[in-house]
Point group: D2
């Protein structure tokens, strides 16, 4: 199957090349916005078949964070083939890369992710059927994310060439979004320093602009060290690391009342002792904390550290905090949001085919929901609204990028309406035409917006003004310690 899809990719290289030539034939003058959008959307469509294939291959690869070797290599090869210069292995991350085209200002960047999730291996069928039981799968649709972002980049590059548009277009291949905080190290390495605006998108079950939102998140392992002793013969000589874990858990529970209600703190006991007749000298709590606001989260995180220290003090043990991960919340940008909303509405959604509708209805039956959302959701674009900090939300390392560069994003209906991210149903959707249809919606909206930003300096100025306003009085800080390197093996350790 991989061989087949590889030749499909090769075929679509050829198509892309032809398309490029077509584009070159177009007139060189500045265009009206609508005309420019139409042109770049056509380029997206022309390149679409190839990148759908790429998305399918990455879906097949289904590689975990920081180990997306084949996925990253495929994206790099494709973007090189399309004429981008590629720098790989940036920010101490083997699978991170930057693909560039053009030069000078403005610098517009599009983010691409491509890591899979453990345990979500699933065929592209509407019932639970793993390809390989227990293996990773694209339950968050990052195969589409990375490919759709690249599709937009390629189309915009072709548009820039055809229209002699100045400026720099970049594609950031960003690994390990799922818990690896890949972009945080990239931010820290300074690779976004000269970028004017960052564009991104994420698969979902509806079409909408993402203007802020996402929960800031910090996570760590709290390992307590005590003194072992025979639990029946000499428990008084032991200092129980498990007691410390228990008391840290208790402390967290008592803290819940005294943090903002929209805070999340959740943990497991990853090491809880070896044998009941030995006072455990080692125990570990694996904790995640989230808040709509990174600044608030930093205060809460200090208190969580105090809880861990208090638990150690109470039990005569010591505590070690390791494996720290952290993503910031996304800083909204209303100036960019206006442009993005207009563009997404112009692109519109897509209408499922009869086959897709059958697949979708079958899949929806597995949701266990009382009321199912209409399949028409894929056709529609949500009206603009700011995110409600009290609504449930996920976390993403796009947040950290948004604290250093004005950022705007989209979500597109790549999952059967009602399918939640991080489920096999999302993985199934991401591996077939529904996901790919949604991906093209996102690519077009990204491409339109990138073209706007490259050709209208006033938009970038407005974005920067809004950026300054949003961050007034706030400082970006990641909870990841200064010297920490990317935790390449965070999934396997």
């Amino acid at each position: 199957m991989r061989k087949d899809s590889r030749s499909a990719v090769c075929r679509s290289f050829a198509v892309g090349f032809l398309m490029l030539c077509l584009v070159c034939a177009l007139p060189v003058q500045a265009q009206t916005s609508n005309a420019a959008h139409q042109q770049v959307q056509k380029l997206v469509e022309a390149n679409g078949a190839n990148w759908k294939q790429v998305s399918k291959q990455i879906w097949d690869f289904a590689e975990l964070g920081y180990h997306e070797n084949k996925s990253s290599a495929l994206l790099q090869a494709q973007l090189k083939g399309a004429g981008f210069a590629v720098e790989s292995g940036v920010a101490d991350e083997p699978t991170a890369f930057i693909a560039s085209f053009g030069e000078g200002k403005p610098v517009v960047a599009i983010l691409g992710e491509f890591d899979a999730l453990p345990g979500l291996s699933q065929q592209a069928v509407p019932e639970r059927a793993p390809v390989t039981a227990g293996a990773p799968g694209h339950g968050c649709g990052h195969n589409l994310l990375g490919s759709g972002a690249a599709l937009a980049a390629v189309a915009v590059k072709q548009y820039m060439e055809a229209n002699h548009v100045k400026g720099t277009l970049r594609y950031y291949g960003t690994p390990a979004e799922e818990g690896g905080s890949g972009k945080v190290y990239m931010v820290r390495a300074g690779v976004f320093k000269d970028v004017d605006v960052v564009l991104h998108w994420h698969p979902g079950d509806r079409n909408a602009v993402i203007d802020g939102g996402a929960l800031a998140v910090t996570s760590a392992k709290f390992t307590f060290h005590g003194v072992a002793a025979h639990a029946a013969m000499a428990p008084d000589r032991g200092r129980s690391a498990l007691d410390a874990v228990m008391l840290m858990g208790n402390g967290i529970e008592f803290m819940r009342e005294h943090v903002p209600s929209n805070t999340r703190m959740h943990y497991i006991i990853s090491k809880g002792g070896v044998a009941p007749n030995i006072v455990p000298d080692l125990a570990q709590l694996d904790l995640v904390a989230r808040s709509p606001w990174n600044t608030t989260l930093q205060e809460i995180w200090k208190r969580i550290l105090d809880v861990s220290k208090g638990a150690a003090l109470m039990t005569g043990t010591t505590v070690e905090v390791t494996d720290i991960g952290s993503d910031a919340d996304i800083i909204g940008n209303d100036a960019l949001a206006q442009v993005a909303q207009k563009n997404l509405e112009e692109v519109g959604g897509y209408t499922m085919s009869a086959d897709e509708q059958k697949f979708a209805h079958d899949l929806q039956k597995t949701f266990g929901l009382d009321t199912l959302p209409s399949l028409d959701q894929t056709k529609e674009v949500e009206p603009f609204h700011k995110p409600d900090p009290n609504e449930p939300s996920a976390s993403t390392d796009v947040g950290d990028v948004s604290w250093v560069v004005p950022t705007i994003g989209f979500t597109a209906a790549t999952f059967v309406p009602g399918a939640a991210a991080h489920t096999w149903q999302a993985a199934a959707s991401a591996g077939m035409s529904i996901g790919q249809d949604g991906m093209v919606v996102a690519s077009k909206a990204l491409a339109d917006t990138a073209v706007d930003l490259l050709t209208k300096p006033e938009l970038i100025a407005a974005a920067k003004a809004d950026f300054a306003k949003e961050l007034a009085g706030k400082t970006y800080r990641s909870a990841i310690p200064e010297g920490q390197k990317p935790l390449i093996d965070y999934r396997t350790k």
Copy 2:
């Protein structure tokens, strides 16, 4: 009733005086031990009626710790009347006093207590019947303790005079044994510095030597200070002092497994918040810790302080530790114990009268025990045995004295066999002839031993050698902070 007993005391003053004259008539040479014992025991008997009356009056007074004004005054007056020089108000304790007779070495001291317990008011009848409901009562028999010790002192003084015995005899009036740690401040004030041996006794339901034992105890109030907030409107702005109390409690519970099994830690929540819709900014835990060994307790107490600090750290509150009380364990002295055991066996117990037996049987019916101890227990003396550190035990500030002076003690059967200390049944026994009979047993044993010590320097030398051996490598330290004054109002605050 009080008037009556007062005149009874006056009458027995007269008896005492006559007795004194009788004693003076005795020959002046050194005597054999047995003869000496017979003589001093007779003096005890001769003074007995008066001191039984005194014990009854103090039983009537039933005054709480540090407020034993009438009880202390009566004892002082009686001892002055018997020829002792009295220094009162020592060690910043208004009701503490030292009554002295003689001069030079050796210095032998007898301890006397006289404080009552809250809520144990009880008539001298074998069913629950308070004199005044809710008022204090002598549920620990300290009315007998102080009087019996004084009876011994008076008899020994008379013996010393009659036999021209050299040396100093002292009676220490020691207030607030019940939770007030009265003797600790006396030790700290240095009033035991020149004492060679300390003798003491305590009411109980059997006749035995007390050679060590008693649990070292430290207690304090842990007050946490947080930040109040409306619990429904803004709980996140609050820092709950009650949370800290709860977590301190949890911390103590988790500690239990990791201290020696014979440790005791018990607490109440003395302040748990004012209204449920306000995050408590003040909460308090009132904790007592005990161990057979003061040195062990000191280590445990440090850990308890750490638990309180950990609880504060976990909750963003602060902790204040006040009202610290502490008694050490009793350091045994085997050299003295041998003498004491011999003397007690020589004295023997006492046999109840028919009326006393009736009272005792009636009282025993209220114990709710499956098997009742025999009334013969008052007749017998227990064979000598060292205390088992794993047996339940009480605490006493005699412990602190025993860390600075060689100390030996007795218990005598003043309570109906099976009656526990700190019960109304003990209070009833202590107010009638059973208690008074047992008191005389103790007085005789104390008097015999004092006479031995005053007349046989080798006994004091042996006691000191044993004392040095017992304390080798140990240092006396009270958990009561250096500058703390006696907590005169510890019962009422």
Copy 3:
């Protein structure tokens, strides 16, 4: 002072009577809405001086829930004087009453409260100065609430008489809103059965319509019974009621993560043991739970009961749940809200005098706020918006009424902007002209709306339709047990 204010009341009776005559002279036909509103607002103004005096007297009385004897009597006397028929002592509540005028349908009711809060005694001055330290005070402005509602009722009655409006107008004197759930027993007694619409208002620091909102609340005392034992001698024979309280607290803390974030659960330990050396055989936790939705709260309450049972099971103790109080959330009514919003906007706010502004600025200095709200807030009416279930909110027994009758309410700016309810600052505001000015705003809006409802049957029909829609699939149930009588002494027990 009380005498003076009484004569002031007498004087304003006379004024009211004159006013009544004036009104009688008006023409009898139906009026346009605006004209009707103008007429009834004038009647409010004409009666205003008297009811301001009444509000001041109740402020002086400052009586706690179910013991508002003078306050209730004064309101009853005044309403009788104004021509209402009064039924007192309804629903087993000595201070509850219903004042009625007119007959037949429709039946429009206005709610009045008059209880004070413990500890908030305060003079009408802008610095902390209790009238009597520790005494109750009107920190929630219920002196204004009850008086302002009565003022509206009297004006509407006069309007009805003047315009021969048919129907029944009722004033419900509802005691013990603050934690006593007075209205719940009234609902249960059926006194709202024939009411078509209920109107209410509440003092605040802004002018707005209350269309739903308020947190449903349930509270109780959880008393655990164990077995006492000496904590040092025989702790194994004890079964600690305090342990049960601690574990119930722990259980509640662990529950927090698994209830909706906008739930509130808060508690104190009202009885935490008597002496640390006794294993507590009795301990008590006093708990309040809240949720935006009564139905959700009922589920949560069941789980809280399970936590208490679990704590008893864990500790070998038993649990008793007493003193149950409960208020439902307010069911909104959009049909009524439209009318109410229009009317409130028509009435508008009020402008502070120079003296009032001085008072307000002085008071604001005591708030400790970084940014202070503008005093202009009293002039403005907030645009209509539905309450956000995630915003902090209080609770009220108006909620229970709203589950059985269509209900709409207002808040008016009676407190200096920025003053929170249940503070001395609110009490100060409620005792002077600022509070009284705001009260008149509320009275006018209530009167306008009552007149609309009495004269426009279609409004009542719309209200009922909306009511049915809102409650579809929901059932009203109070957590207060069926047979429980009002807890008349809930404040003192």
Copy 4:
């Protein structure tokens, strides 16, 4: 090495046979006790070399509980070779067996164990050096236990034959003593029904009689089942099994104060959740409880079950209790103890050779002890004393046997003095001559005692009388559920 030791075993078969002949030549009359003891002790010595080899082979096998296939087979083959009839696979335990000789009354049984401990693989050298890292090892010396018991049995059989002693001698091969409760199922299967007295021994670091003692123990896995949910998106929909585990742990901690101080309860968290962003639907606590008295433990175990139920009730989860293991305490028998003590003193200890002393000193250096016991400990026999229920102790399934048959035992100095059981140091000792020397001491004491019991009916009568007295009012009950089969895979599951 195994080959060598096998031929050694073969050789010693021959020796055994010769010895048997020697014995046959002895006179047949009844003997004085001393003479009998001398004779059977000589038989022990004669068979000693062979059984030392067997002990070494089992030490090499080092097989875990219920999987002691080679060890059991070797013992069975050896005992068959020595003339015993062997029944294997009794009580549903593949490695359990009974070897019998003789017939009729009395029936005297000797217990043999042979299971190893996980992770204690160790060469017979005085520094840490596993044979195979992580593999099992004989850290409790059961290789000696099973071999030494068999050596005694063989010697006693030879004595019986030589002296025409009537009665039945049995060797019980009892698997899985270490946590598998192998003997409990054997008791339940009734295989001890007709036994008059049971003898046993256990390796240790001193020579003494075991008259009772050992802690009763019950253990189980408490698995909680809840409802999974996304911990950030919908924690309110989850019911956390980990919360239940935490609250069960808390509940156990709060229980500690209210059980006898010599109780032990210790646990680990064997399953604490899979990923911190998922509310755990499964979590597990693995708990062991111990007490000096099985009857007390049963009461405590009920309370532990209540704690687990309370935790489930508090959290909306369910609890499953599986993998229940349980050993009773050992019921002492003073009549047998007298005989045993006399016999052990008669046998005496053994004196280490110079090489053994060197080994012992080297090993003692690894103990980390401040004061080391003298090597002379192997030479001495401890004076008789009843076990102190407050002293630390281990657990054994010999306890269950002692509840159904009068039982007495020995410990012998097989470990270098100061080496604790369940350490690599004990394993090292058990694999060389020190262990084997101690084993012979035990074999002789067992053999002497068996001969006494087989030849003096009055001893058995006395043992039975004492047994009846000890158990008066007590009933044997194992916490292992009625229908539960041996947990053959308890080590690997």
